[in-house]
């Protein structure tokens, strides 16, 4: 009897399993529908070094697991990273939830909640309308996109028609970008303290919306952002004169802004014109050095293929509104100790404000820069050479980034390249170069 019962259980189990399998098969709506659960990822070893200040700016091994699950209208995505190595001479082991979100998606409407990376704008590399995603500018790898960081957000997209969609994003908690100016040689007595982040409150959240038109002959978007900019400024937190030499502690201090944006792309024969512009509105910038003036930032680009070389040429400009020149302080009475202290304070204010202006490209009323991106694939796309160049005409700063990639097999790729930055004394690139100029090599296996 016992034998028979076991047999029955086995038979029922088999039938249930077959029913489940049959049910799973019948759920597929079409060949284009992705499978219910997918697991992908990569393992890579990456080295970036040879800078003036650090032999090993970044040496690490990384395991990445990306999983996607969809069933009906339910969707979830996770990108998990385990990384260990040396970052600017400091050993570390890091576990990162690069993106984790869940939600609902249909033909008309998407709703996702969780940590997400969002990229807005149609131009390349410089996107004045993209104010949502913070970056870790000091995570040095072969791929600049590795620097993107996620935000916790509620993201909704509604497709009004086949050519119009609207996106709405709410970010409850501010996430700043990461730029380690503590690594720079800014002079004796200058250091960086704790960041002054906005309180975690509803009022300090960010809101962004984008109305996108994707017509056959052109694409256009208008967008709006209200919130703290991930690219923050610096305030002087404290100045200590007790040692005789001023000891200055700076504090990263985000600022609130409103941005109205516009971007477009326009194919003309075998050329594509792309453009992007943002009107950034700020308040209290006269009294706070960490808040930039209102400005209009714009990028205009043109893309064409010259004999197999994909060429993108962009003009990057900025018009600073309500601009006033900084006045260099004058020591009125060198023999008066009070005048000396006042002069020192004014100089600290002047230098710190100037530093912020350089970061925001507001050192002059107008700022002009040129970007050139070249890319060429060889040997049936198994080799790819790309070169990126940036020259700021106003500040005379230059960056060149060559890279060569060899796809050894379908699953294994090697990259070799470098990053070179230079600029006049006391320019941002002049400070950055001893840290960020260097060469990189990477070996990456995907699965």
């Amino acid at each position: 009897m016992k034998f028979k019962t076991t047999d029955m259980i086995k038979q029922w189990s088999l039938m249930i399993m077959l029913c489940l399998i049959a049910g799973t098969e019948s759920r597929g709506q079409g060949l284009l529908e992705s499978s219910q659960a997918e697991f992908n990822g990569f393992v890579r070893g990456s080295a970036f070094g040879g800078s003036e200040l650090y032999d090993y700016s970044a040496l690490f091994g990384e395991f990445c697991l990306q999983s996607k699950f969809s069933q009906g209208k339910t969707y979830l995505y996770a990108d998990l990273r385990f990384r260990g190595g040396v970052n600017f001479d400091e050993e570390y082991v890091k576990y990162q939830l690069r993106e984790v979100y869940a939600g609902y998606q249909s033909d008309k409407f998407d709703l996702f909640l969780g940590n997400q990376i969002v990229v807005w704008g149609r131009t390349d590399g410089f996107n004045p309308t993209n104010n949502i995603t913070p970056n870790d500018y000091f995570f040095l790898t072969s791929d600049m996109d590795d620097q993107k960081l996620s935000n916790f957000m509620l993201r909704m997209k509604y497709r009004i028609s086949s050519v119009i969609d609207i996106e709405l994003i709410g970010i409850p908690v501010y996430s700043p970008s990461d730029y380690r100016f503590d690594l720079f040689d800014l002079g004796d007595g200058v250091s960086f303290g704790e960041a002054t982040l906005p309180e975690k409150s509803f009022g300090n959240g960010s809101l962004a919306t984008r109305l996108n038109f994707e017509f056959s002959k052109a694409g256009v978007s208008v967008s709006y952002f209200r919130g703290y900019d991930p690219f923050y400024g610096f305030n002087v937190q404290s100045v200590d004169f007790t040692t005789g030499v001023p000891v200055i502690i700076n504090s990263a201090t985000p600022y609130l802004k409103n941005t109205i944006g516009l971007d477009f792309d326009l194919p003309v024969s075998s050329w594509i014109l792309r453009g992007e512009a943002a009107y950034n509105i700020t308040d209290d910038y006269e009294k706070n050095m960490h808040i930039p003036n209102p400005d209009i930032a714009y990028v205009f680009g043109i893309e064409h293929n010259f004999g197999g070389v994909t060429t993108i040429l962009q003009y990057v400009g900025k018009q600073t509104l309500d601009f006033t020149k900084l006045q260099l302080p004058v020591l009125t009475d060198p023999s008066d100790p009070l005048a000396q202290i006042q002069y020192a304070n004014e100089m600290i204010e002047y230098e710190s404000t100037l530093f912020n202006r350089k970061m925001f490209y507001q050192q002059e009323k107008t700022n002009h820069a040129i970007v050139l991106l070249l890319s060429k694939a060889f040997a049936y796309d198994t080799w790819n050479i790309e070169v990126g160049g940036y020259y700021n005409i106003t500040s005379e700063e230059l960056m060149i980034r060559p890279k060569i990639t060899w796809k050894i097999t379908d699953a294994l790729a090697a990259s070799l390249g470098g990053n070179y930055m230079t600029g006049p004394d006391n320019s941002i690139f002049n400070y950055s170069s001893p840290v960020l100029s260097g060469v990189f090599v990477e070996l990456k296996a995907t699965f």
Binding site: L31, G41, D107, D145, E214, N305, Y380, K407, D410, A411
Partner: protein, 257 residues
């Protein structure tokens, strides 16, 4: 009696001059229509073999549907892993340049791309992007060269020449010679000639299956590059006529799904 003789002579003249016979353009149009679908979805495997026989494999899922006069196609790469998730959307117009967008997961945004490079290799293979879509029939001149039996099928041999250098550049060849089966209008072999009129590539279409709507589809296609020894093979793993996908699926905003 006299009138009857005249009509007979006139008919013979017309028949020999080809006025009542099909022109090369008509045959080519019918060949194009024999495999024309209003809508379909398929999963294909693309094998790329270099001259030493080393193989790389790509897998693509694609769907195509006609809306008005525009044929909309979406292609999603499912393997290898490093390019998985890359998706391309093509709006194929009869008489003007196509619109194309690409979504690359690493960039996290959809980009409009230039569509004039139809002659470029499709996913690094010997097939070109032009081979993946219906050609603009008005871009070419057509001529019947001869008839021949190919693999047991009586065929016309049709020469198709690009009308100008721009069209040559766009498609990556100067002319092609096509073996079209007389009974079914199916293409079995196409020779491609480069800009110097040298034989460049040969495409073979095999395993035609007649589908429920009376149209045909080749489930095996091979392209041999006679100049560098490389070969590429497309194997159709799954195929369905028609598509339940809504028009909103064929939009740039849905490429990242």
């Amino acid at each position: 009696m006299k009138i009857k003789n005249i009509l007979t002579v006139v008919s013979l003249i017309f028949a020999t001059s080809g006025i009542f016979a099909q022109t090369a353009r008509e045959i080519s149009d019918k060949a194009s229509n024999a495999i024309d679908f209003e809508a379909m979805e398929m999963v294909l495997t693309l094998k790329i073999l270099d001259a030493k026989g080393r193989e790389r494999v790509r897998q693509v899922t694609t769907a195509s549907k006609k809306y008005g006069e525009t044929n909309k196609t979406i292609m999603k790469i499912t393997a290898p892993a490093d390019v998985k998730g890359t998706a391309v959307l093509i709006y194929d117009y009869e008489n003007r340049d196509d619109d194309m967008w690409i979504y690359m997961p690493a960039l996290r945004k959809t980009r409009r791309i230039i569509s004039s490079e139809k002659g470029k290799g499709f996913m690094s293979s010997e097939f070109t992007n032009a081979d993946m879509s219906k050609p603009n029939m008005n871009d070419f001149n057509y001529k019947i060269l001869s008839s021949e039996t190919f693999n047991g099928h009586p065929c016309w041999i049709i020469e198709t020449s690009c009308k100008n250098e721009d069209i040559e550049d766009e498609n990556g060849y100067s002319q092609r010679v096509t073996w079209i089966e007389k009974e079914t209008y199916l293409c079995h072999k196409i020779e491609f000639y480069d800009f110097a009129a040298e034989l460049y590539k040969i495409q073979f279409m095999e395993q035609y299956k007649k589908l429920s709507n009376g149209k045909y589809f080749a489930f095996y296609m091979k392209m041999e590059n006679r100049q560098n020894g490389r070969k590429s093979v497309i194997i159709i793993d799954k195929f369905q006529i028609g598509s339940n996908l809504s028009e909103s699926t064929f939009t740039p905003a849905m490429l990242d799904k």
